[in-house]
Every structure is written in structure tokens, then in C-alpha cells.
């Protein structure tokens, strides 16, 4: 009895082994590898860090220095002159639309108010046409004081990428008119 069971087990294992071998012999496979990149459209909002307000004493000290070149014959002189006093902002309301980044006069002339055309919210929309090249308009943030993020402002990444070269203005808009090209 024991021998019969042993023989049956051996026969079953043999049949199973042969089946597996035959099945394995009649299949073939090719390994296909690839990298797939998927794009998830997302509305991206870039927030600018809020800067502390400049003390009034410093502003008052700077004001006479800035008035001198502005009265001078060369309005395109590179500046320190990027910063314009608050009075300019008041006298020239158009400056409020100009980007607040501090730039030299030449730079400002080359890039006439790129931030003015920049619409931070729209530029963050998926599929929108970015109308400002990389590195332009350090802070479109000043153009959007009504940004829902409060003090933070939104803008394209290219704007943010240019931030180190320029000095982004606080969202409070105190430097909103600081743009010589526009003031010309």
C-alpha cells in the first residue's frame, strides 16, 4: 500500500514536471522598458517673501541723494537711482503700474515695464502664454496688491528666478513707483 502511494506520487510529479517544461518551452517573451513622462496641469502660484518696511529715517536720508540725479541732465544715469521717493509715486500715478524692482535706467529702457503687462494670476494659469521672458520683472507682485495671498504676491517662476538680481519690493507698494524708465 505504501509502495503504491509512493509510485502514484512519483508519477504525478513526473507528469507535472513534464507539463511545466512543455509549457515553458512553448512560450517566449521580450522585455519592454520605457520611461513615461506624464504632465499634470496645475495652476501654480508663486509667493514672494514679504520684506519689512523701510524705516522713515532711511527714506528721508536717501531722498536728497535721489533728488540730485533726477534733476540732472542725464536721466539714464545708472542709479542708485532706481529708488524714487514716495512723492514721485504720488505725482506720477502711472508709476504705480510699473514694476517695483529696482533697476538701472538702461535696464528699464530695454525692458519697458515688463511687469506692467505681467498678470501674475493669469501667468500661473495652465496653458497661459507667458509674455515675459525669464528673468524679467523681478516682482510683478507690486502690480497685484489685491493678491488673495495677502502680503505675498504671485508671479511666474521666471520672475522669481530674477529676484536675486533685483530687489523685490514689498507687497505694500511703498516702492511701487521705483522705476526710472517709467518715470521718464
Amino acid at each position: 500500500m505504501k509502495q503504491a502511494l509512493h509510485a502514484a506520487l512519483l508519477a504525478g510529479a513526473t507528469v507535472l514536471g513534464c507539463t511545466v517544461i512543455a509549457w515553458g518551452y512553448w512560450i517566449d517573451s521580450i522585455q519592454v522598458k520605457t520611461d513615461v513622462t506624464v504632465l499634470y496641469p496645475v495652476k501654480i502660484t508663486v509667493t514672494q517673501p514679504e520684506k519689512p518696511p523701510i524705516p522713515e529715517e532711511i527714506l528721508q536720508e536717501k531722498a536728497p541723494l535721489e533728488d540730485a540725479p533726477s534733476d540732472g541732465a542725464d536721466p539714464n544715469a545708472p542709479s542708485q537711482g532706481g529708488e524714487v521717493s514716495d512723492t514721485d509715486e504720488v505725482t506720477d500715478p502711472a508709476d504705480a503700474q510699473a514694476p517695483s524692482q529696482e533697476k538701472s535706467g538702461d535696464e528699464a529702457a530695454e525692458k519697458p515695464a515688463p511687469g506692467a503687462s505681467a498678470e501674475p494670476v493669469n501667468s500661473a494659469d495652465p496653458g497661459s502664454q507667458p509674455d515675459s521672458p525669464a528673468g524679467s520683472g523681478g516682482s510683478a507682485s507690486a502690480d497685484s496688491p489685491a493678491e488673495p495671498t495677502g502680503g505675498a504676491a504671485s508671479g511666474p517662476a521666471s520672475d522669481a528666478g530674477a529676484a536675486p538680481s533685483g530687489e523685490p519690493s514689498p507687497a505694500s507698494g511703498t516702492d511701487g513707483g521705483a522705476h526710472e524708465g517709467a518715470s521718464d
Binding site: Y25, W26, I27, D28, S29, I30, Q31, V32, K33, T34, D35, V36, T37, V38, L39, Y40, P41, V42, K43, I44, T45, V46, T47, Q48, P49, S123, A124, D125, P126, G127, S128, Q129, P130, A134, T149, S154, G155, P156, A157, S158, D159, A160, G161, A163, P164, P168
Partner: protein, 268 residues
């Protein structure tokens, strides 16, 4: 005494006659016989398929009905020497909306017989209702694309990696193979469609993202990626690169009237 000598010589003669006759019979037999040895080897047919080293590899997006497809451009292939492994390379990204709408990612590989192969392969169209199996797409890299620039979400202190952690999830795709084309130019195709579970993962991904400019400044930049249907890389969003390895399995469970033998024309 004389009689005894005659008897002995008679016996000797008889023995000699017997030996001579035996020798004659042996020589005659040897002269009229020959042997021809035939060696034969009987084996079953060899089933060995390989990916063509040079051929038109295709990657496309096929709509659920299978009627129309969008071909991805610039597809290249790297095949192993034995043709048992192939890597498809293409630079175009796939908008997630295609995947959400049920489009299948189709990877097509031109096939040929391996060395000494006798191929019988069943030719059939993909049956999306009957998946062959599933495969996992592992996340390899996550980037952020903003106004054409690509920022890598690597751990460089930028914090982008944490912001985009929601996208670092593997996706499961159902696989449906098919074998199509003429016998001289057979194609093996793999159709990959997102599973219900993975569609749920996609649906849960955030549609809006808020990040700081500082994070972008610190993030390393990658090379631009163009997505299917885009003239330029402009759509803002998250780019996720997945690694995918799928076996293209061929078996002999063919139906007799659908056999296609490579190089032999249509079989009955």
C-alpha cells in the same frame, strides 16, 4: 599397418576440405552484404522570437475605441544583442488628461524570428475587456514646469520635493497585448491603460499649487519637456517621469486558422 595410414590421411583430407569450404562460405557472405547507418534527430519546433534590431518602433496614444491614435514623435529603441530586451526612448510628455479619458499607451515592437526559430504565433487584436495582467509604473523623477522652465524636485534644500510629494505615487496599469501585421512584418504591441485605482489617485491630485519664490530659486533646473499636442512647452504643471517594464509574452495558444508564420505567407 598400411591400412591404418590410409585411414589417417583420409581424415586429414576431410578436415581440410571442411575448412576450405567454410572459408569460401564466409568470404561469399562478406562479399554480398553491406550496412548503411542512418543517424537522425527528431525535436519539437523551436519557438524563439526577438525584437528587431532595426525597425520602426512606435509609441502612441490610442483612444478607448481603438479607432484613432496619436503617435509620439522621436521614438528610439535600444535592443539587446539577443533581441530579448528593448528599451524605448521618447522625449514627449503625455498630458494626464489623455490618461484620465481612458487613452491607452501603446508600445509597439517589430518582431522577427530568432536563430533557428520556427514561429507559429497567433495574431489577434487587443481585447481591453480582458486584461492580460497589470504593471506598476514607478516614479523616477518629479519636476515642476512653469512658463517653459523646468525645476527639479530634488532634495537640495529647495523644499520642492516636499511640495510635490503628492505626485510621488506609483501608478498601476492594465496590460493588453496584441500581435498584428503581415507575417513578414509582425508587430507585438502592449496597450497600457490606467486601472480604476490609479484613476482615483489622479483625481485626488491637487489642481492648484502655491509655492515660494525662494523654493524655485533653490531648485536645480532641468531640460525642457514638450508634451503631446503642444507646439511649445508652455502648459504649467507637474511633470512626473515613471519607469515602466512590461514583458511582451507570446505563447502558442493559437487558433489553427489564425496562425501567421513569419516568412511563409498566410497559413491555412
Amino acid at each position: 599397418m598400411r591400412t591404418r595410414g590410409l585411414r589417417r590421411s583420409g581424415k586429414l583430407f576431410a578436415l581440410m576440405l571442411l575448412a576450405v569450404s567454410m572459408t569460401g562460405v564466409g568470404a561469399t557472405y562478406a562479399g554480398w552484404s553491406d550496412t548503411l547507418n542512418i543517424h537522425g534527430k527528431l525535436t519539437t519546433a523551436v519557438f524563439d522570437m526577438a525584437a528587431k534590431a532595426s525597425g520602426e518602433y512606435r509609441v502612441s496614444l490610442v483612444e478607448p475605441g481603438g479607432r484613432t491614435s496619436v503617435d509620439l514623435s522621436g521614438v528610439e529603441a535600444r535592443t539587446e544583442k539577443d533581441g530579448k530586451s528593448v528599451e524605448l526612448l521618447f522625449s514627449e510628455g503625455i498630458p494626464a488628461d489623455y490618461m484620465r479619458e481612458g487613452y491607452a499607451l501603446c508600445l509597439s515592437v517589430p518582431l522577427e524570428n530568432g536563430k533557428g526559430s520556427f514561429m507559429n504565433i497567433r495574431r489577434y487584436k487587443p481585447d481591453f475587456s480582458n486584461e492580460w495582467g497589470q504593471v506598476t509604473l514607478q516614479t523616477e523623477e518629479i519636476c515642476l514646469r512653469l512658463n517653459g522652465a523646468v525645476y527639479l524636485a530634488e532634495d537640495g534644500g529647495s523644499g520642492l520635493g516636499n511640495l510635490l510629494a503628492a505626485y510621488d505615487k506609483p501608478l498601476r496599469m492594465a496590460v493588453c497585448p496584441s500581435f498584428e501585421g503581415e507575417p513578414e512584418s509582425m508587430w507585438g504591441s502592449l496597450y497600457l491603460t490606467l486601472t480604476e485605482e490609479s484613476l482615483g489617485i489622479l483625481a485626488a491630485l491637487p489642481a492648484e499649487l502655491e509655492l515660494s519664490a525662494e523654493a524655485l530659486e533653490l531648485a536645480p533646473q532641468g531640460s525642457p519637456v514638450r508634451a503631446v499636442g503642444e507646439e511649445t512647452a508652455e502648459t504649467n504643471g507637474i511633470l512626473v517621469r515613471y519607469r515602466c517594464e512590461v514583458p511582451l509574452v507570446m505563447d502558442q495558444s493559437y487558433e489553427p486558422d489564425l496562425i501567421a508564420r513569419a516568412g511563409e505567407g498566410e497559413a491555412a
